[in-house]
């Protein structure tokens, strides 16, 4: 217990230090503004995927193509709305973060705009093609790069402003404004040209810009994961770490229930024999991660919401959790990532990484012991997390039981960390120092 006390005190200290950083505060403010947009966008995305796509869970189970007239038209509309709301989040983030990070009032808007230009410059799409930008990287996937860009642009603006402010302190207001703006043009042009050249140089190495370079480094081909459980667990931990940083992890990119070769082999074997006793690949990314490690989105965020609703005393936390509960039920956790926030939150990082791994170990041991059947049948998009195992085994009640056990265990793991974060929020709002 004493070790736990020491550990939590250390965590609180780290969190407190992080919150006192000017840059971190800018990120928080930016996220707070983005939250309603992300929430709305995620709801649209979730509904479109689950209710209006041919592969959607609710579409399939309730035969919505027979029930809803003109469903394909609605689907097109929702898809357009989805792209509108979700595809530019990182661009907006880069503006907002720099806006709050730049010190001088006069610099704020200009700094934000420069950050947008630099961020877009880093995502230019060279060569033939319809798009000028790498459209995939302008949404939440590009959040980390946006934060990095904001930091660099913000710092340069602050440094430059300090220099010029000293020189121009004596001039009149009108002069200062006009001279100041022209000054900034040099900074802006230099930054943008540098970013564009970097992007151009990178286009020879990789297709996806700077983001693409990062992804090609962390990309893990699914085949190499195969059925080795240690590799799968490590990949999950690594994936969640990247998601916590604001990047999309390797599993999130490759996932989305597209049938892999092992899954097709499993499904065919099960169909031929009429039972699940001897499928060729009982341990795969799909049977462990998709089935037991992804309730509510990466990091078992469904358990996080439940934990918050149980123990949190801070009204804001409860509010965010309530608003995000619908999308989490459809396995999308973006509102939570931006709202709490989960991104760059050291206290919640630990359960975020541990809970899926823990659940996957439980599932792996049960499958290895032959007590639990692996999930082989393909399920629709946005199937509720706890039901994936149940449906993937064609209605096996024990699998459902294991899912609920996993959910309960995840909630239990999240509880102390949620309590800690709740405590931190209370202390921070009250302006108290953490006791040494």
């Amino acid at each position: 217990m004493k070790y736990w006390q020491k550990f939590t005190q250390q965590l609180l200290k780290v969190m407190h230090w992080l919150e006192s950083l000017h840059f971190y505060q800018s990120i928080r403010k930016a996220f707070a503004i983005l939250f309603p947009i992300v929430l709305f966008g995620s709801i649209v995305f979730a509904i479109q995927r689950g209710f209006f796509s041919k592969n959607g869970y609710y579409y399939q189970v309730f035969y919505l193509d027979h029930v809803v007239p003109g469903i394909s038209i609605i689907s097109y509309g929702l898809d357009a709305l989805n792209h509108l709301l979700n595809d530019y989040i990182a661009v907006m983030a880069s503006f907002l973060i720099t806006y709050y990070y730049t010190n001088n009032k006069r610099n704020k808007v200009l700094g934000g705009l420069t950050s947008v230009l630099v961020f877009l410059a880093l995502n230019l799409s060279f060569g033939t093609g319809n798009n000028h930008f790498q459209m995939n990287n302008l949404g939440l996937r590009g959040l980390f790069l946006a934060m990095l860009t904001s930091y660099i642009v913000g710092r340069i603006f602050n440094w430059h402003a300090k220099k010029r402010d000293q020189q121009l302190a004596t001039r009149s207001l009108r002069d200062y404004l006009s001279i100041g703006a022209i000054d900034r043009i040099w900074v802006i042009t230099t930054l943008v040209l540098l970013a564009a050249s970097l992007s151009f140089g990178l286009s020879y190495l990789t297709d996806g810009g700077l983001n693409g370079l990062i992804y090609s480094v962390v990309q893990v081909p699914e085949k190499s994961l195969g059925h080795v459980v240690e590799k799968i667990l490590t990949a999950t931990g690594f994936n969640n770490l990247l998601v916590w940083f604001g990047l999309a992890g390797p599993l999130s990119i490759m996932g989305q229930t597209t049938p892999e070769a092992t899954m097709t082999a499993n499904m065919n074997a099960a169909l031929q024999h009429g039972n699940l006793k001897n499928v060729p690949y009982p341990i795969t990314v799909h049977t462990l991660f998709d089935t037991f490690g992804n309730f509510g989105g990466s990091g078992m965020t469904l358990a996080l919401i439940i934990a918050i609703l149980i123990v949190a005393k801070q009204a804001n936390l409860r509010r965010i959790a309530t608003y995000s509960s619908f999308t989490s039920f459809l396995n999308i956790n973006d509102p939570l990532m931006i709202g709490l926030p989960l991104i760059w939150n050291p206290i919640l990082l630990i359960p975020f990484i541990i809970t899926p791994i823990f659940n996957m170990i439980v599932a792996w041991s049960l499958i290895r012991l032959g007590l639990l059947f692996p999930s082989v049948y393909s399920i629709g998009w946005t199937t509720p997390g706890p039901l994936v195992a149940f449906l993937g085994t064609n209605g096996n009640w024990f699998a459902l039981f294991v899912s609920f056990i996993c959910l309960t265990l995840s909630v239990l793991i999240y509880l102390p960390f949620v309590r800690l974060y709740d405590q931190h929020v209370r202390l921070w709002k009250a302006g108290d120092e953490v006791e040494a």
């Binding site: 189970v61 309730f62 439940i306 609703l309 039901l387 149940f390 064609n394 209605g395």
Partner: protein
């Protein structure tokens, strides 16, 4: 503060309860749906049915292939003959019976509108997809073989490029007989609109398919109606796109366009490549035991046992 917290906690309890209720409520419908899906997929995957789908050409009726089927059945086992007709209003009528334990019936798909011309081919391709959906529901097969005579081959091509879904059913072998891929043009330099469209959409053709394209010739250029150059134009569509593309030219008796389905050589080719499976693994050699309890392989030269 405490009252507000109590209110919040009650609200959250309600939300958790709601989520739980919805989750439980989803259990039964999704379980039913999944079990239905699995049973259906299982039936399809394990189905031994593999019919041969025949499509006649323009102005030909559903009885076009009767002689052909009779010839094949005489030499082979008796295959059922089922005839499906698609009316102009999309209605489907069926005649003929599936004999018990017959896994390889002949199924003729014909159309009330069997006129010539690209516009009609497009309609007939769509009607063919309706007939295929009906047949899959009724007979639950996961693979089939095809024979198209004259325009029938064009209808098959249009169907493959616009309606065929390899996730649902797979076409293993197709034979087109006297099919005018370039209609009545005898020069490949004059591509008809249909041929250009077929070539444009060649990416949609299934990569694992095998095609035999048979041209009949009465003289050096055509079979009385279809120029040989028009039949061989099929290579621009299929060659290097599907697994195997084979062209065969048949001459001699019965090589006029309408006689092709009864042509003895073609009947042999159909029997060899479509009815029988040319890719089946070699028959296991039979072992006979002679009086001395020695197993002798009849394929090998017999060595007289020395006593």
């Amino acid at each position: 503060m405490k009252l507000k917290l109590k209110q919040l906690k009650f609200k959250s309890f309600l939300i958790c309860l709601l989520l739980l209720v919805v989750l439980v409520g989803l259990l039964i419908p999704s379980r039913t749906w999944m079990q239905q899906k699995v049973a259906h997929s299982s039936a399809r995957l394990n189905s031994p049915m593999s019919p041969m789908i025949l499509v006649p050409g323009s102005s030909a009726s559903k009885d076009r292939f009767d002689t052909l089927v009779n010839l094949i059945n005489e030499a082979n086992i008796d295959h059922s003959l089922i005839k499906v007709t698609v009316k102009k209003n999309d209605a489907i009528t069926v005649s003929g019976q599936l004999k018990p334990k017959d896994n390889n019936p002949f199924i003729v798909i014909s159309f009330e509108n069997n006129q010539d011309g690209y516009a009609n081919i497009k309609k007939q391709g769509r009607w063919m997809s309706l007939a295929m959906t009906y047949l899959q529901k009724r007979y639950n097969f996961n693979n089939f073989r095809g024979i198209g005579h004259s325009n029938g081959g064009l209808i098959f091509t249009y169907y493959l490029e616009n309606y065929y879904d390899s996730d649902v059913v797979s076409l293993s072998r197709l034979m087109t007989i006297g099919t005018p891929y370039n209609f009545e043009e005898s020069s490949i330099n004059n591509k008809t609109e249909m041929l250009s469209d077929f070539i444009k959409k060649r990416d949609k053709l299934p990569k694992d398919m095998v095609l035999y394209s048979i041209a009949g010739t009465e003289n050096y250029t055509d079979d009385g109606i279809v120029p040989e150059a028009s039949v061989t134009a099929g290579k621009y569509i299929y060659q290097n796109r599907i697994k195997e593309y084979t062209e065969i030219t048949v001459t001699g008796q019965d090589s006029a366009h309408s006689d092709l389905p009864q042509n003895k050589q073609i009947v042999n080719l159909i029997t060899q490549y479509i009815v029988n499976d040319p890719f089946a693994p070699k028959q296991k050699t039979l072992k006979k035991k002679n009086g001395n309890n020695q197993t002798i392989n009849p394929e090998e030269p017999q060595i007289a046992p020395t006593e």
